[in-house]
Symmetry: C2
Subunit: 454 residues, 2 copies
């Protein structure tokens, strides 16, 4: 029974080289999270649809992967339900579980279910795949990893400060030069308020968000199109086109927002963050960007986004403050702030800029050529000795032509090869070949190990 083999569209296999690079990314992020006292959790891939549905809007509900109930699910449907053939409505009768869509909703569910074991503030990180039935396209997958860190149960802005330090540390370790953009939802609300269009806050930020791409004239046209008054648009100009240092920008904004309590609160928050970051000292620039909007319906305070400076690529990290993480699960008033590193995009940036350290993609270091049973018996304890020294070592399993074994070593980029035949056995030594230089030496086992560890 022969079958055509394939994998579902939008999913990927990861080869050993890809895995090594991905592990380098995840390990670096994990290490930094841990350095800041964040603790790892994992939640199941499967969540109840009750947990998942209604959290990501109508569009999100459609993009959830739903898992068919086991057993005789068909017998539970009425004739009417079947005749109606309403796929969307039937889904919730055929399925009670789904694959997680992000890590935030499962985290909120986790906090509610485990609150009595948790020490608040709870600093958790989570690196796991998520699934979305999106139309697959270049750079967009149906199964992909998210790398989130969130602090829940603390209103302190020090959390925002630390998340910015984490971003700075992670990208410094990756050697990716970045610009960190920060804004505050309260400033945006204040702006809408003082120009007299408080109820159009979403329209305004959607338009402003496009400044980089479409320019000021088109932004203004779009503002007009959604019904913002000419007076309000005029008032918006100095805000949209704001220039200068972060300190200068904040001063200007504070003047504009003088009549808005919310707006001034946003300015004050942002000032605190900049001030503390100055004390800590960042390697990368952080910039107040009033055109930064990000999912407004969700965030309530600081919002941030990270761009790579040396290669064109969308946002590679983002996050912000949300004031009611667990309200949907019946526990209101628990504030959170979080970031999410975009692993797939960081992967591409590291590839484009050729920034993977050699050490991160290393594999087997030493291969023993197989000359037959007697020679293998001789080599066994030597192989063992090399491994005891931490040297990743293989012995070619089959006695095949030397050429084939050597091409295996080359294909796997193995830097050292041991040859041990009658002569070496008689002398109780091995011949070590350096695959880069081609140089061969007859050595004792100790000297061989020393040379490889050099």
């Amino acid at each position: 029974m022969t079958q055509k083999t394939s994998i579902p569209k939008g999913t990927r296999d990861f080869s050993p080289l890809e895995m090594a690079k991905r592990n380098y990314i995840f390990d670096t992020i994990k290490e930094v999270y841990a350095l800041y006292g964040f603790q790892q959790i994992e939640t199941p891939a499967l969540e109840t649809l009750q947990t998942l549905m209604g959290k990501y809007g109508d569009e999100g509900d459609k993009l959830l992967f739903k898992v068919l109930n086991s057993g005789d699910y068909m017998s539970k449907l009425t004739d009417e339900e079947l005749q109606e053939r309403n796929s969307l409505r039937l889904a919730s009768r055929l399925c009670e579980k789904g694959l997680r869509y992000d890590l935030t909703v499962p985290f909120a569910r986790y906090v509610v279910m485990h609150l009595d074991e948790l020490q608040l503030p709870f600093k958790r990180y989570q690196i796991q795949p998520v699934w979305r039935a999106d139309r697959p396209q270049k750079g967009r997958y149906r199964e992909f990893y998210q790398c989130d860190a969130d602090v829940v149960g603390s209103n302190s802005l020090l959390n925002e400060v630390e998340l910015m330090q984490i971003v700075d540390t992670v990208f410094t370790r990756f050697k990716i030069r970045v610009l960190i953009k920060i804004n505050n939802r309260k400033i945006l609300s204040g702006i809408a308020e003082v120009i007299g269009e408080a109820d159009k806050i979403v329209d305004i930020t959607v338009a402003i968000d496009k400044l980089d791409k479409i320019g000021i004239d088109n932004v203004n046209a779009e503002l007009r199109a959604v019904g913002i008054s000419e007076r309000a648009i005029e008032k918006l100009q100095p805000i949209i086109l704001l220039e200068g240092t972060n300190r200068e920008k904040l001063s200007t904004i504070a003047e504009v927002l003088a009549s808005s309590e919310t707006g001034l609160k946003g300015v004050e928050e942002t000032r605190y963050i900049f001030n503390m970051l100055e004390k800590a000292g960042l390697n990368n620039e952080i910039q107040l960007d009033l055109t930064l909007a990000r999912g407004l319906n969700y965030y309530t305070g600081a919002i941030f986004e990270v761009k790579a400076l040396d290669t064109p690529m969308g946002s590679i990290t983002g996050g912000g403050r949300y004031d009611d993480l667990t309200g949907i699960f019946g526990m209101p008033g628990l504030s959170g702030v979080g970031i999410s590193f975009g692993a797939d995009r960081i992967y591409d940036v590291l590839n484009t800029l050729d920034l993977y350290p050699k050490e991160s993609v290393k594999g087997t270091k030493l291969l023993f050529i197989n000359f037959g049973e007697k020679e293998t018996e001789y080599c066994m304890p030597i192989v063992d000795a090399a491994r005891k020294e931490g040297i990743s070592t293989e012995i070619y399993p089959d006695k095949v032509k030397m050429k084939k074994q050597m091409s295996y070593a080359n294909a796997k980029n193995i830097p050292f090869v041991v040859l041990a035949g009658d002569n070496e056995i008689a002398e109780n030594k091995v011949t070590l070949k350096d695959m880069k230089t081609g140089e061969q030496q007859i050595l004792t086992v100790q000297d061989m190990i020393r040379k490889i560890l050099e």
Copy 2:
């Protein structure tokens, strides 16, 4: 909208402490796999049902989690299909994807799809969750991790030898004393052959497999019940009750199996494995156990299983040789041999025997008490300096009562706390409190770091 929160039955959340322990297990296994030249791959959680169906028997097909198609799946069903209400048959019309059931079938699929990029023999390891719609019970989950290593494309018995060395190394690192049991499918076939019951090989091994649990008399009764002749049962007795060293057992078996070519091949293979392992030297005992059967329809050569010696627990690792991994995907003749560590059971054994190293569950090492904005400003560069030395450090984000901050440190088992108020700022020092001894010292930043790193 308040909702009751729960997770699907048979799934689990992993807390920070559980994650630390699980990471210790996975990291140890990964490190040893890499030491032996195995390379990591990952495959998607979602596979096509074409890949998954028919690989695990009828029972397995039922236990696959199937994912409902997106879009208007109902419009594609005929009236007849709906009226029939056949849940099993409709599943393959409603779904074209499923969650992987193990790591072996996805690996076989991977090998076939990526053969032209692979260097054979291909030594791969894979640590990922799998899903089974089994009835959940103690120790059996619907979502659990497997940790597999397989070598494909080599018939050499050196692969079996290396897998035994890997098992030995892993459990030595865990400090779990184990007994490695080994058998060979060809020996079992030979036995069935020489007692004249070749076609009853499955029944025989199923019965023999129970010797430990039900004793020799009940095994014989079961053999009778499945129609094995008295003469054959008599012939089986010395084999079932075989005692002595591995060498002695093999000699006896070789005599019994003198007329079976297959049987003698199995003896020869097992001798080779024991001989090479003697050269390499194992820390744990390896024992020939003719009552070891394991999924016979699958394996074709050596089979092995690992038991913990110091606590009662089923098999904690197992594996074997299978001669046709990829035949089902149209590529016959590719032999493989593999092992799988049972992470959940190893987790329990390490817990029961209290063998987790302290280092593996360590979290934050240093907490700065928050006395307010001015003090925080003073602390920021000191916190940064500690982190630069690799010390996992937190600063309590909110200015709350000292007692609350201290109880946070206690709850998180943080060993050192820094207090820095007016006095310390004036002296440009910090007070370091050792939470274990209660001792407090006023130190320079350098001395503080030195003391923590001691």
